[in-house]
């Protein structure tokens, strides 16, 4: 249950607001959900960016200038596998999270 806030949400006097009101922009550690993780074969990647546009969590960056061209924010990747399914080059494989590679 949400409780009434004790402190006002904003310090600005005009907008002083007492809750229940969400005002802390935060992120949960959804990376802990992952049972499989995307493993990118960088040599197969053509840097089209499809994996990044299809990622529901918006955690993929395709960096054209770098050898490791696909970067993933592991704190938040839920391991859904959409990137692997949509990659036209089949450059992404889903591997068990606890395997060593």
């Amino acid at each position: 249950m949400q409780r009434q806030q004790e402190k006002p949400t904003s310090k600005l006097r005009r907008f002083r607001l007492y809750g229940p009101c969400s005002h802390v922009f935060d992120a949960s550690h959804t990376g802990s959900w992952r049972v499989e993780r995307p493993d990118v074969a960088f040599d197969k990647c053509v840097k089209c960016g499809i994996c990044a546009t299809c990622c529901p969590a918006n955690v993929i960056t395709v960096d054209k200038g770098s050898a490791e061209c696909v970067r993933i924010m592991w704190d938040y990747c839920k391991g859904c596998g959409i990137c692997a399914n949509e990659c036209p080059q089949k450059a992404i494989a889903m591997i068990p999270e606890r395997s060593v590679k």
Partner: protein, 291 residues
Amino acid sequence: MFDIVKEASGLVSHGVSACAGCGLELIIRNVLGVLGEDTTIVIPPGCSALFCGYGPNAGMRVSGLQGNLENTAAYAAGIKAGYAMQGNHHTTVLGFAGDGATVDIGIQSLSGVMERRDKVMYICYDNEAYMNTGIQGSSSSPVGAWTTTTPGGKPTRRKDLLRIAMAHDIPYCASASLANIPDLRKKVQKAKDTDGPSLLHIHCPCPTGWRYHPSKTIEVAKSAVQSGAWLLYEYCDGNITVNTKFKELKPIEVYFSLQGRFKGVNDEGMAEIQQQVKSQYEALLALAGLE
């Protein structure tokens, strides 16, 4: 306005507790990506409420309100009117609701907004059931679909939200899908720029409720469009534009076989549904004056 604890590259936090592979998460990121920070979002209970956050924590960096299941559109109209009184004519007020909150429980308030010509933008993300409370059937669940309240497959056809909107003759409404994200973004922009009520009906695959592997969300969305189960079109100032035209629709069986919820549909049912889908597509072409 917000205390930023963890940065995000967009307006939506990266760690939101929507299921892995949720279509809704991709939709809301794209919607807010187009609309920008100058937006006030009204969200009813449902899976989209996950983005409102929990307790003091917010999942989005825009102003907003979590309302009730019945009156998303009415809240939005009230906020818009309040802004107008303050001399603010620039903020986009968006109602962002599920199918249950739109075609069933919130339909009267949406109808009111459309009739009054309030300048409100409304998006219905359609995951074709009441997902957040455990996959109960809604009047947007397609015929044949298993839900916990239609264990033998839904016997009746779905309500056609866009036809209801067109009957109100609002300036802009359209259907969209994750099958074509650039098209979806274009339509969000158009809806934003509309002077008057605008409505988007977005197909939203849900791995949890539709019984498919989370990695297949986009594949399922594409298959729905190719089979004609989800038709992409726009209604703008009285004219209908069909965005995807086909020489021949793919068999509905292909779309159904990707998902567990249609397992109970037998051959006879399949043939009947195939016929319905085909006649719906033809009816749309006729409505658009293409036949």
